[in-house]
């Protein structure tokens, strides 16, 4: 009796396991995509401006004007996430105001992520949330637009942005806490 029960139960168990494996395999691509997005979001959220970026000790070398706009991403020789021409322009505009410089550099870094880190709606939302922090850190609509004009300075970059936003557009929320990466 027990043997017969075990025989049936074993088949039931095997069938359940089979369906479970099938479900996992079916959802794997989606889960895999989610994990990639999660990793990318984590990267977006952890990329912060540092004091070295603000005080000028980490400035990029002079850039080649022809090369800087040759690609959408441009050149970031010092690898701090801010395109070199934008970084140098902000330093030139605000040589004495560390507070304004820090805020604008942060916003420029976050806007640059639209070129480097967005590949779906999840990553777009993450970048937009970071941009919200940068914007609030600047606390000045005119200066925020000033940075946007510097980052999206060519027709190609503007069109890329427009297309990307249209492709992945969605609703999103922002977090008002700790808006400035560098506390001054």
């Amino acid at each position: 009796m027990f043997r017969r029960f075990w025989l049936v139960a074993r088949w039931v168990f095997v069938v359940l396991v089979f369906f479970y494996i099938a479900l996992v395999l079916y959802s794997y691509p989606h889960d895999h995509k989610e994990r990639i997005a999660k990793t990318a979001v984590s990267k977006i959220e952890t990329q912060k401006l540092t004091m070295d970026d603000v005080d000028g000790s980490h400035l990029p070398p002079p850039f080649n004007p022809n090369a800087i706009d040759a690609t959408l991403v441009g050149i970031d020789a010092n690898g701090n996430g801010i395109r070199d021409d934008v970084e140098l322009a902000i330093f030139a505009a605000y040589p004495t105001s560390t507070v304004i410089r820090a805020a604008e550099l942060q916003y420029a870094m976050e806007l640059q992520m639209e070129f480097t880190d967005v590949f779906d709606s999840t990553t777009l939302v993450a970048v937009l949330q970071q941009e919200g922090r940068g914007y609030l850190c600047i606390s000045n609509d005119v200066r925020a637009k000033e940075v946007e004009a510097q980052v999206f300075n060519t027709k190609e970059r503007e069109e890329y942005r427009e297309g990307m936003l249209k492709k992945y557009m969605t609703s999103f929320g922002t977090d008002p806490s700790e808006v400035c990466d560098v506390q001054l």
């Binding site: 609030l136 999103f172 929320g173």
Partner: protein, 764 residues
């Protein structure tokens, strides 16, 4: 065997994705911003950021979070155009965007207290969202609506709104609605001064950041605070704050249709032929995506229908308008669309209430709750049957509307041909709605006439004109004489009636005892009824009333323009452009003269009434006590006002609100400097010597402020227009750790000087 089974199970469990769900709590609050149409995501997110910036910058609670409920454009805005029209009538043709917004914001909303904040067409969605949410389990006490620049005729729930009298698009919608017999937008309840560029922008005054936030941020923040303060939330935490709409096959098909059709129609406005071609592509795409589904056809093809029509130019504006009018009055069936698509004329229908949904509610907001209060009629009309002089005409640009956008602008075609003047019963009705607050407007008769034409183009400013006897003179605050006074026998003192148009501007009616020529001049007053200076060096307007005409009126259409009307024939007989942007609290008094009579000279002097009914100077609370041992504000001479100083700390930074004396701020330059003082208030020797004056503020404003933008940087701010002033000496730095800061200014050498009370630059 067992070990193997457990191993397999453990492995499978490890691979299973973890699920986490947000909690809905009673703490904090969420503001959901819904943009207008033709607003790109880039512009919409900047709108949101700017709103947050102003909210938190003005000390808003960090417990309040902001979410974007993105309202995308479809078919290059044409789809939204149709959607807007049907929304205006309370029967939206498609719930696709509404469902999408609700679906998208649901995971982000983690508080029960919810404020839906819409701008432009987004205000239709906030109203619809409120309606959906309260009918799907959200307690009305925990949710509210606050709408800006709303073309809607109501705010759901106990919501409030803010619409500027200078909002050209909303004012245009009033005319369109009046033409279609549709309920018009809520009356204007604020006058936001035009911002740079608004004069040449046909949708000037409507933009979210450039107009509303730039000109009325303190009021908007205050309104948001007030709306949030009224919300209450109870109950235990739950996984979600609201139930999202069930999105079925129809929604998916619509999504597919839009994803195919939207890119195909982008840029159709450039060339008419391109428009037709793109539209055909769009229609083809929509049809292939789901032609079998009636609702897809309704939503998709209906949204595509306008793309068949090129955006109108001067020649076909009338056709476009008739299409709009037909749509206003129709219930939009597939047969209509087919007729349109086949180039057939739609039969024009009389406007009628839509059967599918209840008509939009009349304003539900409490006018008493608004601060400052909304437009109130200056006159106290008594029930009396009169013919309302409500002639208005359409502005020159009539096209298939770009819709109710404005957050970021859009590619819109502008038609330039003037269209015939039309009656505007709606503005009258709206005015009457306000009048209803205080008296019975029954028997007020309007005389709309579609056939009536006028060569003169003006915007809608009409209002009711009940006759008043002298005993009904208004008692509202006036500058100058309390009543109209006359001398001689040409002008009558029996009629002294004033009202405000739906857009909020003064309409002042007069009467003469005989027709003929007279001159009209005027004077301006500030908020304290001081006579303003030489704003304009105008010559008197020379006016002539046609034979037999006695009644005439002055009607403002903005802070910078008024027309003089022959009330009997509803014709404009004179116009004037004020060459300066005066503050919104400015009052005006008219006087006139008749010199034709050989034996004596007749004249009149009117009351001084506000040009914009609710225009008030900015108001601040003085919460910064003078540090012990420091002198209070002092000023000498004619320019700076020593009687006004309000200090406060916002976000921990000092703001000291100051005022000029009237009438001397004509934009002239003066010297200014932020002073870093020691803790014992020791002032340095104060003199600018021969330094050239390099500071100037917006001409004709009185209210400005000295503000710390950071602990070491000061700026000057135009408090009336809520703008930072940019000039050579309009900002500067002080040393870090400075205990006290003051502001010193002088004009014309030392003819007039100001020394502000010293305050700590940051919150003590």
């Amino acid at each position: 065997m067992r070990a193997q089974v457990f191993l397999v199970l453990a492995l499978l469990l490890a691979l299973t994705p973890s699920l986490a769900s947000a909690l809905c709590t009673n703490d904090g609050a969420t503001v959901v911003y819904v943009n207008g149409i033709l607003t790109s995501l880039a512009d919409a997110k900047n709108d949101l950021f700017a709103l947050e910036n102003r909210f938190y910058g003005d000390g808003g609670s960090k417990d309040v979070s902001f979410k974007m409920g993105y309202n995308p454009s479809h078919l290059d805005g044409y789809g939204d155009e149709l959607q807007s029209v049907t929304q205006a009538l309370g029967s939206p043709i498609s719930d696709y965007d509404l469902d999408t917004i609700l679906e998208q914001i649901a995971p982000d909303v983690e508080t029960r207290k919810l404020l839906l904040l819409g701008h432009s067409q987004g205000t239709f969605y906030t109203n619809e969202m409120y309606d959906y949410l309260v009918h799907n389990g959200v307690p009305p006490e925990s949710i509210s609506v606050y709408n800006l620049a709303t073309p809607a005729n109501a705010v759901e729930g106990d919501g409030t709104y803010l619409t500027s009298g200078n909002d050209k698009l909303v004012n245009q919608v009033r005319v369109w609605d009046a033409e279609a017999g549709a309920p018009g937008p809520l009356p204007a309840n604020i006058l936001i001064p035009p911002q740079p560029g608004d004069d040449t922008d046909i949708y000037g005054g409507h933009h979210f950041v450039e107009d509303y936030l730039a000109g009325a941020a303190p009021r908007i923040v205050s309104d948001i605070d007030a709306s949030l303060a009224k919300l209450t939330a109870e109950g235990t935490s739950s996984d979600t704050c609201f139930k999202t709409p069930s999105l079925g096959l129809v929604y998916d098909a619509q999504k597919t249709a839009f994803s195919l059709a939207d890119p195909a129609v982008v840029g159709v406005d450039s060339v008419a032929s391109k428009a037709t071609s793109a539209a055909e592509s769009a229609l083809s795409a929509v049809a292939s995506a789901g032609s079998a589904l009636t609702q897809v056809v309704n939503a998709g093809i209906a949204d595509a229908v306008f793309s068949v029509f090129p955006k109108p130019d001067a020649q076909n504006a009338g056709t476009a308008f008739s299409v709009e009018k037909a749509l206003y009055g129709s219930s939009l069936t597939e047969a209509d669309y087919e007729a349109l698509l086949n180039g057939q004329d739609l039969p024009e229908e009389e406007s009628a209430p839509l059967p599918s949904k209840p008509q939009p509610k009349q304003p539900t907001l409490s006018h008493q709750d608004l601060s400052p209060p909304p437009i109130q009629p200056v006159a106290q009309p008594v029930p009396q049957k009169v013919a309302a002089s409500t002639t208005s005409s359409l502005p020159a640009a009539i096209s298939i509307s770009p819709g109710f956008g404005g957050g970021g602008g859009g590619n819109v075609a502008i038609a330039a041909a003037p269209l015939p003047a039309v009656e505007n019963p709606e503005s009258e009705a709206t005015s009457s709605q306000v009048a209803e607050q205080s008296q019975d407007p029954e028997q007020v008769e309007s005389s709309p006439s579609d056939d009536e034409t006028s060569d003169t183009v003006a915007t809608s400013t009409a209002s009711t004109t009940p006759d008043l006897g002298p005993e009904q003179q208004p008692t509202l605050p006036t500058c100058g004489p309390a009543t109209l006074s006359t001398k001689g026998d040409f002008f009558s003192s029996d009629k002294d009636q004033a009202d405000y148009s739906a857009a909020g501007f003064l309409v002042y009616h007069f009467e003469n005892t005989e027709d003929g020529k007279f001159t009209l001049t005027w004077n301006y007053f500030d908020d304290e009824c001081n006579t303003s200076g030489p704003v304009d060096t105008h010559n008197p307007l020379s006016l002539t009333l046609p034979s037999g005409v006695l009644g005439w009126s002055v009607r403002f259409t903005s802070m910078t323009h008024f027309d003089v009307w022959d009330d009997q024939n509803n014709l404009i007989i004179g116009s004037y452009d004020i060459p300066a942007q005066l503050p919104v609290y400015t009052s005006i008094a008219f006087d006139g003269g008749n010199f034709d009579s050989s034996d004596d000279v007749s004249s009149f002097v009117s009351r001084g009434l506000k040009i914009f009914g609710t225009g008030e100077p900015p108001s601040f609370t003085n919460s910064g006590p003078t540090p012990a041992g420091c002198p209070s504000i002092s000023a000498t001479g004619y320019f700076f006002d020593p009687s006004y100083e309000n200090a406060e700390y916002v976000g921990g930074l000092l703001r000291v609100h100051l005022r000029f004396l009237t009438p001397y701020n004509d934009g002239r330059h003066f010297n200014a400097e932020g002073l870093a003082l020691t803790s014992n208030c020791s002032f340095p020797f104060l003199s600018f010597g021969f330094a050239p004056p390099q500071t100037s503020l917006t001409p004709f404003i009185r209210y400005y402020s000295f503000r710390m933008a950071s602990s070491t940087h000061w700026i000057l701010w135009d408090d009336e227009n809520n703008l930072q002033v940019h000039c050579t000496s309009c900002e500067g730095d002080i040393a870090s750790g400075t205990p006290l800061v003051s502001f010193f200014a002088s004009v014309d050498g030392n003819a007039s000087t100001l020394r502000m009370t010293p305050f700590p630059p940051t919150s003590p």
